[in-house]
């Protein structure tokens, strides 16, 4: 079993190596979300807020 400082050193080196890999221009990041996703999120929030408002003012009882 390694002691704490050796483990810390091991994790530090591994983290450093991974960050270097991510910094490489050839590193492939996960695909970003698109406009369609943003529109869907806004629609969900807006329609939910509308229904909540209708309940709050007593239109939906």
């Amino acid at each position: 079993m390694k002691n704490t400082s050796e483990i810390e050193e091991l994790i530090y080196k591994e983290t450093e190596s991974r960050l270097n890999e991510m910094q490489d221009p050839s590193y492939q990041y996960p695909k970003r979300i698109g406009k369609g996703d943003i529109i869907a999120i806004v629609t969900v929030v807006a329609s939910s807020l509308t229904l909540i408002l209708l309940c709050m003012v007593g239109v939906i009882k």
Partner: protein, 477 residues
């Protein structure tokens, strides 16, 4: 690299705070959706539904449960995008908002609070099993068996957590599919056991508050707090996702639709119980046994009981990961074992179960400001860019050192939000409404809005220099 060193690194990647590279990602949309749903479909959802059902009409209950959850889950899941992109969890990002020592303190405090849910979970498991045995003609003494079976559930969950994400993934693939089926059948059975017209005609209990708006918003307080309860745990699993889209939608649909669906099922069962028996019941196993007859009830009880074990396993993994992000030197296995003893003690104590409403609101008051600050920090203040080298404290990168490891501004925003909301909006301990602001935002909702607002306000004052020192250190974007 020696084999045991490679194994250790692998373990630290999936169960630790090392960033996860794209090539290591294990979870498709379906995997993440099922795993997160497995976490979300806990039997406490039924408890929450029964609580709300008493005070609202059927239509208002439906909107209250789904819409408040959808609004807040849609917002609080936005930072899932950075979790997926960088392969890190929320708490790593929060080092740049609260400071490394601030994160260590709050990650521990919030996880200690989160574990309260798992005490509820294990107690519900115990009730389920006692009812199951009663259904089989074997009566068990609840005083003796409830703590024993509760601790048994915690131990089984611990074994799943020790297996890590792969074991959790396969456990949930089976459990969640079965439970989704049970949930749908339960709702259908409730509507057939009691005519919908009778459920729809139940008049709300007006004892909670004198006005309809007051009852609606007090119920909303429970649902907002419920939505917040996932927040600090929600951004741990998405680091395993392969795309931002799958990470966001798998997480938000699990917490925003699947969990509320089970809350709704609990509400319907509580209303059906009221029509049939004249009282609201929150124990799903009792409701099932009364409404659906012995045959189906036994099968459902069995599945509900095992759902609790899956929840224990995933919850233990996620919360130990949260603590580990603040205290990275502690081994994951040790944390899981310590969590087992802690949750077992909470299970035997029973306070959380007896004070469910207070408990979720109090926990939400800490989580709310963190949600608000995280969203504002991610979208507005840091504009989706973080210094990964500073957040991992690589040599020569100290943008997030702040004041001896504490970001005083972030911590102050959190404390002010907590205090102002408790004193002037809603006191979760005494359940007292302090002002009319509550009828617009709820107490928990206000903590998030106010926390985010304060953080943004600080970022446009001279404090900006203290808060954002990383703009020259953005080497990985």
């Amino acid at each position: 690299m020696a084999k045991h060193e490679a194994d250790y690194i692998k373990q630290e990647t999936v169960t630790g705070a090392v960033p996860m590279l794209f090539r290591d990602r294990q979870y498709s949309f379906l995997d993440l959706f099922l795993t997160t749903s497995g976490f979300a479909i806990a039997t406490w959802c039924y408890t929450q539904g029964a609580y709300v059902a008493q005070y609202l009409s059927f239509r208002q209950m439906l909107i209250n449960i789904f819409c408040f959850n959808l609004v807040w889950i849609s917002i609080e899941c936005l930072p899932v995008l950075f979790a997926v992109r960088y392969g890190i969890d929320l708490w790593i990002w929060l080092r740049s908002v609260l400071g490394i020592k601030g994160v260590a303190i709050f990650a521990t405090v919030i996880s200690m609070a989160n574990f309260g849910w798992y005490a509820v979970d294990s107690q519900l498991f115990a009730s389920s099993m006692i009812n199951l045995f009663a259904g089989l003609g074997i009566p068990l003494n609840a005083v003796v068996w409830k703590p024993v079976l509760g601790v048994f559930c915690v131990i089984l969950g611990t074994l799943i957590a020790l297996g890590g994400p792969s074991v959790i993934k396969w456990t949930n693939r089976f459990l969640v599919t079965a439970l989704l089926f049970v949930g749908i059948v339960v709702v259908v059975l409730c509507f057939t056991a009691v005519p919908f017209s009778e459920i729809n005609a139940v008049q709300p209990d007006t004892s909670l508050y004198g006005t309809a708006l007051g009852r609606f918003m007090l119920s909303a307080e429970g649902n907002v707090a419920f939505a917040f309860s996932w927040s600090t745990q929600a951004l741990v699993m998405p680091r395993l996702a392969k795309t931002e889209r799958s990470g966001y939608w798998a997480t938000s649909t699990a917490y925003g639709i699947i969990a509320p669906f089970f809350v709704f099922a609990g509400g319907v069962m509580a209303l059906a119980m009221f029509v049939r028996c004249g009282y609201y019941e929150s124990d799903p196993t009792t409701m099932l046994a009364t409404l659906c007859g012995p045959g189906f009830a036994l099968l459902s009880l069995l599945m509900v009981a095992f759902a609790n074990i899956g929840t224990q396993g995933t919850g233990s993994y996620v919360n130990c990961m949260i603590i580990k992000s603040g205290l990275p030197k502690i081994s994951y296995r040790l944390l899981v074992i310590l969590a087992m003893f802690y949750v077992s003690a909470l299970t035997i104590w029973g306070w959380v179960m007896d004070n469910f409403g207070k408990f979720i609101s109090m926990a939400a008051y800490i989580q709310g400001p963190i949600i608000g600050m995280t969203v504002v920090d991610y979208l507005i203040v840091k504009k989706r860019k973080l210094s990964l080298k500073s957040v991992y404290f690589m040599k020569g990168h100290d943008a997030y050192h702040f004041t001896n490891g504490y970001n005083i501004v972030g911590l102050a925003c959190l404390a002010i939000s907590f205090i102002v909301t408790t004193l002037f909006v809603y006191n979760p301990v005494t359940a007292t409404i302090q002002s009319n602001v509550f009828f617009v935002t709820t107490g928990s909702g206000f903590t998030a809005i106010f926390g985010g607002f304060l953080y943004w306000l600080a970022s446009i004052t001279p404090l900006k220099k203290y808060m954002i020192r990383d703009r020259d250190d953005l080497e990985i974007v």
